[in-house]
C-alpha cells in the first residue's frame, strides 16, 4: 500500500496542472489578505467591522480553487488520452495493469490526495492567519487551534468532493466548472440559501460553518454537526464514485 500511495503521489505531483492548483491555492488567500489590509484597517478603525473573529479564516475560502483542481485532476488525468500517436490509450489502462484491484487503487489515490491537500491547507492556513495577526494583531484574537484544524478539514473535504464528482463524471471540465463557479465571491449555493433554507445543508455552505461564526446565515448549525453533514455528503458521493469505478469499463 505504501508503494501504491508513493506512486500516486508521484503521478499527481508530476502533473503541471497540479502545480497550478498548488501555487494558486496556496498564494491566493495570503495575497487577498495583503490586498485587503488597508481596507480592513479602515473598517476596524471606523467601527463598521465589529466581529473580527472570522478575519483571516474567512479569507481562506478564495484559495479553494487549489484543492478543487487537485481533486479533479487526480481522476481526469487518468482519462485523458496519453499522446497524439496513440489516441485510444489512456493512463488508466497502464494504472490498472499495475494495480488490478480497483478499490485498492482508489484507496491509494484518496490517500495521496488527502496528504497533498492537507499539507497545502495547513501551509495556507498558517501563512494566512500569521499574516492576519501581523497586520491586525491588536484587533483580532488568535483563532483557536480547533478552528484552524476545521479549516484544514474543510479544504480536504472539498478536494474529496471534487474527486468524487470527477469519478462519477470521468471528465474534468464538468466538476471544475461547477465547483469553481460555486467558489466565486457570491456562490450559487449562497444564492440558493435565499430561496430555501434547505440549501444551508449543501456541502460547501454547511462545511464553512465548521470554522466560521459570522451571523449571515439562515439556520443555526453547530460546528460538529456541520462537519458531520459535509462528511456525509463526501462519503455518499465517494461511495457512488467507487461503485461506478469498480463496475464500469475502463
Amino acid at each position: 500500500m505504501v508503494s501504491l500511495v508513493r506512486a500516486e503521489l508521484r503521478k499527481l505531483l508530476g502533473l503541471p496542472t497540479a502545480w497550478v492548483g498548488l501555487v494558486l491555492g496556496t498564494l491566493l488567500a495570503p495575497v487577498v489578505v495583503l490586498l485587503n489590509a488597508p481596507y480592513t484597517r479602515r473598517a476596524i478603525a471606523a467601527g463598521t467591522l465589529t466581529d473580527t473573529s472570522d478575519l483571516g479564516l474567512r479569507d481562506l475560502g478564495i484559495g479553494l480553487i487549489g484543492p478543487m483542481v487537485l481533486g479533479v485532476i487526480v481522476v481526469s488525468s487518468e482519462y485523458t488520452s496519453t499522446g497524439k500517436d496513440a489516441p485510444g490509450a489512456r493512463q488508466l489502462t497502464a494504472t490498472l495493469t499495475a494495480v488490478p484491484d480497483r478499490l485498492r487503487l482508489l484507496a491509494a489515490k484518496t490517500t495521496a490526495l488527502v496528504l497533498v491537500v492537507a499539507a497545502q491547507a495547513s501551509v495556507t492556513a498558517v501563512v494566512t492567519l500569521t499574516l492576519t495577526q501581523v497586520l491586525h494583531g491588536e484587533h483580532v484574537p488568535a483563532p483557536a487551534l480547533t478552528r484552524v484544524a476545521a479549516a484544514v478539514l474543510y479544504w480536504t473535504l472539498t478536494a474529496l468532493l471534487a474527486y468524487a464528482i470527477a469519478l462519477i463524471t470521468r471528465n474534468g471540465i464538468v466538476p471544475l466548472t461547477l465547483l469553481i463557479i460555486n467558489s466565486s465571491v457570491v456562490s450559487v449555493s449562497y444564492l440558493l440559501t435565499k430561496v430555501t433554507d434547505l440549501a444551508a445543508y449543501l456541502p460547501d455552505i454547511v462545511g464553512a460553518r465548521m470554522f466560521i461564526r459570522g451571523a449571515d446565515f439562515p439556520v443555526a448549525i453547530a460546528p460538529v454537526t456541520a462537519g458531520l453533514v459535509m462528511t456525509a455528503w463526501v462519503v455518499a458521493l465517494l461511495a457512488v464514485g467507487a461503485v461506478l469505478f469498480q463496475r464500469r469499463d475502463v
Binding site: 503541471p16 496542472t17 497550478v20 492548483g21 494558486l24 491566493l28 487577498v32 490586498l35 485587503n36 481596507y39 478564495i62 480553487i65 483542481v69 479533479v72 485532476i73 481526469s76 485523458t80 488520452s81 497524439k84 489516441p87 485510444g88 474534468g172 471540465i173 471544475l176 466548472t177 469553481i180 463557479i181 467558489s183 466565486s184 465571491v185 457570491v186 450559487v188 444564492l191 440558493l192 435565499k194 430561496v195
Partner: protein
C-alpha cells in the same frame, strides 16, 4: 464557403457542445428563478436580476469555446486531417472563429433572453448576446493556444470567476480594463471585452500560424 460549411458541421456534430449549451441554458433558467424568488420574498440579491445570472452562466460559454477549440487536438489529433484539407492556416483560423460565432449567437441570444426578458431588461439583450458570443470566442482563442481542455478551463475560470471580481472589488479603476466587467456593467466594460477578445484571437492566430500542429 466549403470550409465554412465543413467547420460548422464539425461543431454541430460535437455532442459535448450540444450538452454544454443545453446545461448552460438550464442553469441560467434556474438562476433567473432564484433571483426572481429572492426578489419576490423582499430580499433582492443586490445586483440587477436582468444581468446577474449571466455573470455565472458566462462560465458555460467559456467552456463552449474551450471545447470547440480543443476538439481538434483531442484523441486522434483531428487538426492534422483538417490541415491536410485546408493547409492555409490563417484563413482556416478566421473561418473557425466565424463558424463558432455563428453557432454561439443563437445560444447566447436564447440564454440572455431567458434572464433579461422576465426581469424587464430587454434593452440589455443585444449587449448581453454580443458579450456572451465574444466570451466564447475568447475562450476558444485561449484554448487554441493552451491546446488542453482542463488547464484552459482552470485558467479562464480563475480569471473570470476569482481574479476579476476580486480586482474589481479592491481596485475600482481596474474595472474598465477587465474582460468580464461587461457581464455586470455593459456600458463600462464593452471596450475591454472587445479588446481582450481581439487580442486573444490575434495571439491564437499567430501561434497557430507558426507552431507545429
Amino acid at each position: 464557403m466549403t470550409t465554412a460549411r465543413a467547420e460548422l458541421r464539425k461543431l454541430l456534430t460535437l455532442p459535448s457542445l450540444r450538452r454544454t449549451a443545453l446545461l448552460t441554458w438550464a442553469a441560467n433558467l434556474l438562476l433567473t428563478f432564484a433571483y426572481a424568488a429572492a426578489e419576490s420574498r423582499g430580499e433582492p440579491l443586490g445586483d440587477d436580476p436582468a444581468l446577474a445570472p449571466l455573470g455565472y452562466t458566462q462560465a458555460g460559454f467559456l467552456v463552449l469555446g474551450v471545447l470547440a477549440a480543443v476538439s481538434e487536438y483531442q484523441e486522434g489529433d483531428q487538426i492534422r486531417t483538417t490541415l491536410l484539407a485546408m493547409p492555409r492556416r490563417l484563413p482556416l483560423q478566421a473561418v473557425k472563429a466565424l463558424a463558432l460565432a455563428a453557432l454561439t449567437l443563437p445560444v447566447a441570444a436564447a440564454t440572455a433572453a431567458t434572464s433579461s426578458l422576465p426581469a424587464g431588461g430587454a434593452a440589455w439583450l443585444p449587449a448581453a448576446t454580443a458579450y456572451l458570443t465574444l466570451t466564447t470566442l475568447l475562450g476558444a482563442a485561449v484554448a487554441g493556444v493552451v491546446r488542453r481542455a482542463v488547464p484552459a478551463v482552470v485558467l479562464l475560470l480563475f480569471v473570470y470567476v476569482i481574479a476579476g471580481p476580486v480586482l474589481r472589488a479592491r481596485f475600482g479603476a481596474s474595472a474598465a480594463y477587465l474582460p468580464d466587467t461587461a457581464a455586470v456593467d455593459p456600458s463600462r466594460g464593452a471596450a475591454a471585452t472587445i479588446t481582450w477578445t481581439l487580442a486573444a484571437l490575434t495571439l491564437a492566430a499567430l501561434t497557430f500560424g507558426r507552431r507545429d500542429a
